[in-house]
């Protein structure tokens, strides 16, 4: 069964970059959300194996999404990466203390993201 990855990111360009980076790694089912609300809608519907989220989104911010996921028994075991532009050290600290499993800073190299995925989901394909 394919592992399912949810990407919450409001920039379509960024999303397609992340998608292509993952696709290059192997076969995954990828679900895209253009904002936090879409992510909230998807979570109960789909069994997601990994969440990748941006911090700055128009409706709820990435930290709030992390708090929701890590504070909920149904999802808290799901690995979660934050991808955001560097800038606020405090946002990073908060993300990690809320339970995010990794924090990637844009611009990141495809290898960084791929290595993290392998670490959390295992070698695929």
């Amino acid at each position: 069964m394919l592992k399912k990855i949810l990407i919450a990111e409001d920039s379509p360009t960024m999303r397609s970059l992340i998608v292509s980076t993952i696709a290059a790694l192997g076969d995954f089912e990828i679900v895209e959300a253009a904002n936090g609300f879409e992510a909230l809608r998807i979570l109960p519907r789909e069994k997601v194996d990994l969440v990748i989220t941006d911090i700055n989104m128009p409706d709820i911010n990435g930290l709030e999404l992390v708090s929701f996921i890590k504070g909920n028994a149904n999802y808290k075991a799901t690995p979660l990466f934050i991808i955001s532009t560097e800038g606020s050290e405090r946002d990073r600290e908060k993300g990690l203390s809320l339970g995010a499993d990794a924090y990637l800073t844009k611009p990141f190299s495809p290898q960084e993201l791929q290595a993290l995925i392998v670490r959390f989901l295992g070698q695929e394909a």
Binding site: M1, L2, K4, D10, S11, P12, T13, M14, R15, S16, L17, S20, T21, A23, A24, D27, F28, E29, I30, V31, E32, A33, A34, G36, F37, E38, L40, R41, I42, L43, P44, R45, E46, K47, N56, P58, D59, I60, N61, L63, E64, V66, S67, F68, G71, N72, A73, N74, Y75, T85, G87, S88, R90, D91, K94, S97, L98, K106, P107, P110
Partner: protein, 677 residues
Amino acid sequence: MAELPISRAIKEFLGEAEEIIEKLNLDLVTLADGNENGEVDPDLLNSIFRGAHSLKGISGMFGFDDISTLAHHMENLLDRLRLGKVALSGILVEVLFGALETLSRLVHGKGETEEYSLDLAPVLTRLEGVLNGGAAGKENLLAGLNIDPAILSVLTEYEEHRLLECFKKGRNLQSVKISFSLASFDQDLAEITDILKKKGEVISTLPCAGDVADRIGFQLLYGTSATVGEILAALGRDDAVVDLLGEKALAAAPQPKEETFASEPAGEGQEGGATSMRSISRTVRVDIDKLDSLMNVVGELVLSKAAIAAVADKARAGGDLELAVELQKAVRVLERRLDELQKGVMEVRMVPVGQLFEKMVRIVRRVAGEHGKKVAIDIRGADTELDKLIMEDLSDPLMHIIRNAIDHGIEPSEERLAAGKPEKGTIALWASQKGNHVVIEVRDDGRGVDPEKVRRKAVQRGLIAEGTELSRDETYDLLFLPGFSTRDEVSDLSGRGVGMDVVKNNISALSGMIEVDSRPGEGTTLTITLPITLAIIKALIVRVCGKTYAIPINAVMETLMVEAATVRTIERREVIELRQSTLPLLRLEDIFKLPVSSRRDGRIFVAVVGLAEKKLGIVVDELLGQQDMVIKSLGNALSFVRGIAGAADLGNQKTILVLDVGGLMSEALRGESAFYV
């Protein structure tokens, strides 16, 4: 590794970057206005910050370090600004505009060649210059607020700042808890947020599991001067829980309730197989070239349909009735589906003119700034839709018109005040749809154009003879003659050697028409009338002197059959009476120098064409019917041919010329007096 093909990825990047820049530009204009009035919306500042932030992120990923660096500097400044570490000022806004302009040039440059670069040092220095101010010891302050750490832990730095601001202003900090159905939570939440925003500021929105499956809860952190009771009343919902937070409330807000809502296990059976990359996002970005080729295919299909219909006719003529009927049935079904397809593709090509107007807002600001003039812009009908390609081609002429209006039209402040006008000039950009046309008006409230001066100059330049009598409209039409405006009197802003004749040619190439009206002292209005789309048109097929032509049906108002004897000649022009008005006639054989066969006896057919307020009758020998066609340009080599908009394929391997109604009309109606209806 299987990355996106580079060119497509870069196109996507450029598309998004342009979008961000246009949005930033609009937001900055609003910010500048807010600054003048002393009111700055924190949401607006945050949105501008987010724009610069996103641009930095994506350009960094594409290795465009210069864009990324500049966006980063802007972001730094904006971050300080939204966090209240730097105060907003007119200079700061100007610096931001300057930086945005450079960003925009960089992005456009990269579109041409990835190696494009600019010297960023001056912009960066200016950004650094306005970036100063001290940070506050925020953490301590926050800790003193006595707010549930569960809430504080999800606030971004910006939200922390908003929280403190609310606190400093002595507002009540409240927690609003409410839950919604999972199916509609975003609309429900938006309603609640709208209500709350009227009375205060929503600082953060924390989702939490609802009490029941299929529901989702939210805890909003809210700053307001209203009391808990007032907010409860405003919300008008029994299920909302509002608590007072912060040092004013003794008890901390209870922890968000955990779990309880069971997620439906995703069906195992539907998985497996190939990688699925579903996108929930509802929009796609499409290259206009792709739409164009799709439109061409639809056009070819329309022609194939005509070919099949011809086969049906042939079968009927050959006596095979059964086959003919079946074929015709098939043709009708095909026709309906093609209609839908055509309409669908057409709709996709339509974009709101607002996109174009937004660009113009930037032009107005910049040109006005360079000229030291104060100009406001009034946009109406921004959601009027127009074919994307037409809009692209409209960009340059519109820009030129606006430059002209600011340069020559709007007076300097002192002159305006002396004339009893408001100090700030206004450029109005109004769009509206009229039938199959879109009308765009560009109006300024400047000094206007004196018809007498125009006439004198036309005489001076040898464009008209001394003593020629001209109506007002005709006089203003002189502005569009090549050689009317010359370099010596055009400033470097609107100059660049482009005259209004070029503007007119550009508009004509889009099958459009442009007119000027002006009141000296009050202002000038330019009215551009354009077809909504050029892609596929219905045309009236006519025959004149044995030649076949097509007239775009959207220009045809009616067709008449008249006795040749009713044609009268007034001042060397043929006219007919049409419902109490005089309709000037145009004979194509005169325009195209066709060998005249039989004419001026018996009955003639007249196709009455109209654009804007003007009408003209085109005399033809025969009306052959209507047909859909795809117009193809004649190409640059034949672009000098007047009166022809392009060629079209009729589907039976025959090519037909399509008349340029706008061009024919202005030619026929110019220079002659009083033929207008």
